[in-house]
């Protein structure tokens, strides 16, 4: 077919094609070197034709390229290089002298075997194509993909934060409803307990009066010696009623009942103090009182674990949301009890200066490892066994303290114990941070 075409035309095409074309023989000698190659390498054909490729261009990766060319001769097969893996074979200037953005021309090369009539490969013809523009587009695309990935990661992080916050909100809502329920129950119990208490008080006085009247009647028995029948029936009635025991026991019963009712009253009061119905209202409150009522609420968790020492300084009242601060106390107290494995001491210490008041909860428990110490306020961080801790308690406490513009600090020594210190300002700033923050 080629015989039919004007030889000059073929020469023109090879020479002026907007792609590099060069041919090498079995000894790596350059046989043909077109204009594109000459222009970009600044080595005219006359300079290089007849000479060894690697002599003319020592910067080429000789070992690898020679192997590649060799494989074309042996396999009589194509070989390729791609700009994605090997940006270029020859370092040529790119076609962007003004706009730039890339260091050198990106090239795809095709190594083509030229066979003789016997099927043996005589030459390897290399075509070098300029892929700079494609490469630039690809680079821009990759940058965009990178940015998208980053954005996606940032979004993921935000979603995670949202989930954490939602978890906290759920937890605090749960605590709030528990508090309201407790307050409701406390209110309902308070009335009946009130009248049972006062009735028992009256009953006690009345029984005492009745007993003294009974004693007066017993004095009269002596005058009944003349009527043995009457006396005998009286004696029998007294024995049947076990009057001697009854006289001793009846007051004990009433006293014990009064004591029991008093305890119920205390519990109810503590419950009401702990979870005030006005849970989100700012009030003046005494933190020591709050600490006391909270301690009573969680007393069952603590009493078998620790002796509680109190070193109260007599705090002044501060403005706070007492129910929330009590929740902080509860978390600190329960954590302190959990940290103690067998038996230990929990010390409750308070203090104040002109700026702030503070409450310390110190335990002699197992302590927190340094690597965990900075994470204790993270939501869902817990070292307790699965099912025992939600990992929300301290993060919730932290959130509450932040809303009070206070600080919650922790100091811990493994094996010795942990101290949490809650400090709140005596006068809160005019604009409290909103709950959402």
């Amino acid at each position: 077919m080629t015989e039919d075409i004007d030889r000059g035309l073929l020469e023109f095409i090879v020479e002026r094609l907007e792609a590099g074309v060069f041919v090498i023989d079995r000894d790596y000698r350059i046989v043909l070197w077109n204009r594109f190659m000459a222009m970009h390498s600044q080595r005219p054909a006359a300079d290089v034709v007849g000479r060894n490729l690697f002599e003319c261009f020592p910067e080429l990766p000789q070992k690898w390229l020679a192997r590649k060319i060799e494989s074309v001769f042996i396999l009589k097969n194509y070989a390729f290089t791609s700009w994605e893996q090997r940006p270029f074979l020859f370092r040529f200037n790119h076609n962007r002298p003004i706009t730039g953005g890339i260091d050198a021309m990106r090239q795809n090369c095709i190594l083509l075997p030229q066979k003789d009539a016997g099927g043996e490969v005589q030459h390897v013809c290399v075509t070098l194509l300029d892929y700079t523009d494609t490469a630039m587009y690809q680079m821009r695309l990759n940058e965009l993909i990178g940015e998208l990935k980053q954005e996606k990661a940032a979004q993921q992080e935000l979603i995670k934060k949202l989930e954490d916050t939602q978890g906290q909100l759920l937890q605090s809502e749960k605590m709030a409803s528990v508090g309201q329920l407790a307050a409701g129950v406390a209110h309902e119990i308070n009335n009946p307990i009130g009248f049972v208490n006062s009735n028992l008080g009256s009953l006690k006085g009345q029984v005492e009066n009745m007993l003294s009247v009974l004693s007066a009647y017993e004095e009269v028995e002596k005058a009944l010696t003349g009527q043995p029948d009457l006396l005998t029936s009286l004696q029998q009635a007294k024995i049947a009623a076990d009057l001697d025991f009854l006289r001793d026991d009846i007051l004990d019963l009433i006293n014990e009942s009064l004591d029991g009712v008093q305890r119920v009253k205390t519990i109810v009061e503590n419950l009401r103090d702990f979870s005030r119905v006005d849970a989100s209202e700012w009030h003046h409150a005494n933190l020591e009182k709050g600490l006391e009522s909270t301690l009573n609420i969680v007393w069952n968790e603590i009493k078998y674990k620790a002796e509680v020492k109190k070193e109260y300084a007599g705090l002044p009242e501060i403005e706070c949301i007492a129910a929330q601060i009590n929740q902080v106390f509860m978390n600190l107290l329960v954590n302190a009890a959990h940290a103690i494995e067998e038996r230990g001491t929990i010390t409750l210490r308070t203090g104040f200066d002109e700026r702030e008041v503070w409450v310390e909860v110190e335990d002699t428990g197992c302590g927190i490892r340094p690597e965990n110490l900075k994470r204790v306020f993270e939501p869902f961080f817990t070292t307790k066994p699965v099912g025992k801790g939600t990992g929300l308690g301290l993060s919730l406490a932290y959130g509450i303290v932040q809303r009070h513009q206070g600080r919650l600090d922790v100091h811990s020594e493994v094996g010795k114990g942990t101290t949490f210190r809650l400090a709140l300002p005596r006068n809160r700033a005019a604009e409290p941070l909103s709950d959402a923050s």
Binding site: P61, K63, W64, N77, Y78, S82, Q85
Partner: protein, 210 residues
């Protein structure tokens, strides 16, 4: 060379004679490929007996998995064109063949561009195998540049069935191993249904010359 020649699916387009001829030609072609590769790398390669299968479109992912195994793979594809047309998938199951870097002329002082090595090795294997088959059959084919198809993907996901253009394909599968090194890969030649008739004609022509 212990693997059995077997067919997967039913062969509806090639006659029995044509099929036998293709098997023979593939055997001879792969033999030639083995000796060419040994000349380039200076090491003996072992090639399995080619397995020929006619596969329906919906079965292609499953058959690929059956041929190359369950493990995640690295895959390269390369197209051939000319008197026969089709695509070849080269599947590396053990990661990039870094064992071959030295054989391919990569300096160990250089940072080895693993993907380029993968493409180079694929090109050699495809060229040797298809070149062997084409020269035995006496047809002229050319190749386009190989490209990466997937990195660490399941063989099943290599070609999703709904992306396949033809209703049926002819598979020729060969497994390579190097005797001196722990290198192995699968090569699957795939020809679309429309090309099978052309292949049949070439096979008939070949049979006549015998």
């Amino acid at each position: 060379m212990s693997e059995e020649t077997e067919s997967v699916g039913t062969n509806t387009t090639l006659s029995d004679d044509q099929r036998d001829a293709l098997q023979e030609i593939a055997n001879i072609g792969m033999g030639q490929a083995g000796s060419s590769i040994a000349r380039i790398w200076g090491e003996f390669v072992r090639l399995s007996i080619p397995r020929i299968a006619n596969v329906e479109r919906q079965d292609i992912p499953a058959v690929l998995q059956q041929l190359v195994g369950e493990k995640n793979i690295l895959a390269v594809r390369q197209a051939f064109h000319g008197q026969l047309r089709g695509e070849v998938i080269i599947v590396f199951s053990g990661g990039p063949p870094s064992e071959l870097a030295e054989l391919m002329g990569y300096d160990d002082t250089d940072r080895i561009e693993e993907l380029e090595l993968l493409l180079d090795v694929s090109n050699i294997l495809v060229g040797a195998c298809l070149g062997g088959v084409a020269s035995t059959l006496g047809v002229d084919i050319g190749f386009s540049a190989p490209s990466i198809m997937g990195i660490d993907i399941s063989p099943r996901d290599l070609i999703p069935a709904d992306e396949i253009l033809h209703s049926r394909a002819l598979f020729i599968e060969v497994c390579f191993t190097l005797e001196q090194r722990s290198f192995a890969c699968h090569l699957v030649v795939m020809m679309p249904a429309g090309e099978i008739a052309r292949l049949g004609k070439e096979l008939d022509r070949f049979l006549e010359t015998l």
